[in-house]
Symmetry: C2
Subunit: 421 residues, 2 copies
Amino acid sequence: MDFFHCISLLEAQDMIVKELTGSVVALEQVPLVDALGRVAAEDVVSAENLPPFSRSTVDGFAVRSADTFGASEAAPSLFTVVGEVLMGKSTGIELAPGQAAAIPTGGMLPVGADAVVMLEYAEQPDPHSLLIAKMIAPRENVIVSGEDIAFGSILLHRGQIITPAHIGVLAASGVTHVPVRQPVKVAIISTGDELVDIDMPVKAGQIRDVNSYALGALFTKWGCRVSPMGIVRDSYEKFYCALLEAVKTCQMVVISGGSSVGARDFTVKAIDGLGAPGVLFHGIAIKPGKPTIFGMVDRTPIFGLPGHPVAAMTVSEQLVKPAVRLLSGQKEIFARRSVPARLTRNVASSPGRDDFVGVRLNRQADGGYQAAPIFGKSGLIRLMAESDGIMHIPSDKSGVYEGETVEILLLNDADEGGRPE
Amino acid sequence: MDFFHCISLLEAQDMIVKELTGSVVALEQVPLVDALGRVAAEDVVSAENLPPFSRSTVDGFAVRSADTFGASEAAPSLFTVVGEVLMGKSTGIELAPGQAAAIPTGGMLPVGADAVVMLEYAEQPDPHSLLIAKMIAPRENVIVSGEDIAFGSILLHRGQIITPAHIGVLAASGVTHVPVRQPVKVAIISTGDELVDIDMPVKAGQIRDVNSYALGALFTKWGCRVSPMGIVRDSYEKFYCALLEAVKTCQMVVISGGSSVGARDFTVKAIDGLGAPGVLFHGIAIKPGKPTIFGMVDRTPIFGLPGHPVAAMTVSEQLVKPAVRLLSGQKEIFARRSVPARLTRNVASSPGRDDFVGVRLNRQADGGYQAAPIFGKSGLIRLMAESDGIMHIPSDKSGVYEGETVEILLLNDADEGGRPE
């Protein structure tokens, strides 16, 4: 299988978008405390003004701002203090001209008042009098009703992943339940006669099933519910039955391929056998990850990933992740956080192929990042855990050079254990 | 409370480090599938070589590399094919000089072989013969036993947050259970006479309890187990009892403060009343977040955060997050993923105070980021959800200028709903 007989990464991504657009998993309502990290299924709109009443943003005195017109150190305005606003209480106070009321931060503005003067600028010759020695603008130190969140404004957009800040905005607006997408249910089938599960003794010639665990963790991180179907060995019939079961019970199927040509042939044959349209591409011009298979059985996408864990994870980031985002109704399908970085050495590549190379990122004195490519024979598992990010060398380049500024896709947020600074 | 009577952010962080160093929550063993996102409690060391046997990285023929010495198009080396290596099987084959064996990708190298020639470079005049027209180096297309992960090497370092790649490395090495730190149990107490829970009707002068939800989500994202203790109102005695209960049952307590001076006085009095050393600082020179309280009751840290959600979340990122990381035994206490960005407009600041301003990030044609500050009256909740990152203006600056390159702390990884590109 020559690279020039493979489809390009962009073609593969376009095909996945075309096949999965419109296929979105069902909606469910969850309590606000369970909404973190979920995908909003609908726009959530504010049913009220926030704040519901005009509030003070400081400790001070509520006044009618017009009463301070012309006030100065030489000629302060004089007010009569007619009462005190208490937190959490509706105030019965109504200010007439020349009147003021004490008010705490967050207190509800009395009727008639339109501004608050801070304690620092108010002098009280006696408890019932107040001198203000500067002019106060209308709305000064006040948040008016609806100024933060207006009735009818959108609190959360369909397709957004819900963050702690969204949770705060929703709580502030009294939203107790949130419409979210159900987690995408993904089956993982491992194939390969050489594989054994991680808790079994390894005999000569055998290796452990890494991909069920590594891919399972990756898909879990992306919000999927993972259904591990174990290792399928020995016969085409057993593999076909496992795949049939997976297609029936899940919304996406990922086959972690045996490394042999025979195992790949099994996968193609079974996908085509299960239903139309069957296999849509087999082989993409990327490294690592060339022997990747993608097909659809009715509306269910099926990926046949390479057996090498590094290749399987690279292809997952490039193809499976966009598919998960499409199925869960996310807006940003291909967005990845990336940073520009200066390369520490030349890296050769082949035109006509998209290359992905793990790098370590180091912060430089000038604030920029430096990217040091991590090399090793294809399939070294250790390399995965040593990378802070991935350098993408596009298919029109024959390499990138030391000192060149390249774009690095970040693998792990600092919160998740990256190695920043 | 003047900014110059507050301690600095750095002093506050140093004090937290000093108080919490050595206080780490207990260890537990979890199955590998449950280890994602947890903090490694011990170094995990490989008990074997990976791969356990020398493997081929291509489909081809295993040979003794010395037998190809001098081979060329003009004078190819001739081999006798003595058998075929099967996947997942120990091979009984032993190569004598001049002999070769067919081998699949991942197959176990026969005794005597030290390299593999790819199918493309091998010609078979008949099934039992093989011509190789180039010289093959020792170890070519072979991963030798232990080359990926050597016996005794560290798979996972104490204090690392476990990523999908770590899960892969652990699976490959047969690690079925992982020693991790228990989640830090954090109590959240909301105080403030004006607060009502989000599912209750809001009367005049009242506002909803945002912080229990927003802070709960933030701490959950950081791996904590959140214990919401609800809204405590009305009396000092009730507040004292709630705090006592929180200190008894949790490893950290966060009080989301009422905005009034009275509520802050309650907090200080209760922390001091519960035990030594009591309140350690009250007021830090940052904006937003000045009226922050920190104390210790025996070995339990207690934070009194400002009532404004934006201030509470800003202080949480700067002080509570490092505390969570210390308690859970993480290595990187202050690391945050940040990017340099060009500022779109001037932002004034006060020397002697660390300012934090929300920004939107936009990707520029040259690959760099542009940061547009989001302004609004202090305490606008909506601003939280509109920020992609936070600009930190250090205390020695009186402002930052349009066009200046500033450092932006990223709030949300693209995976979590940021707005990259």
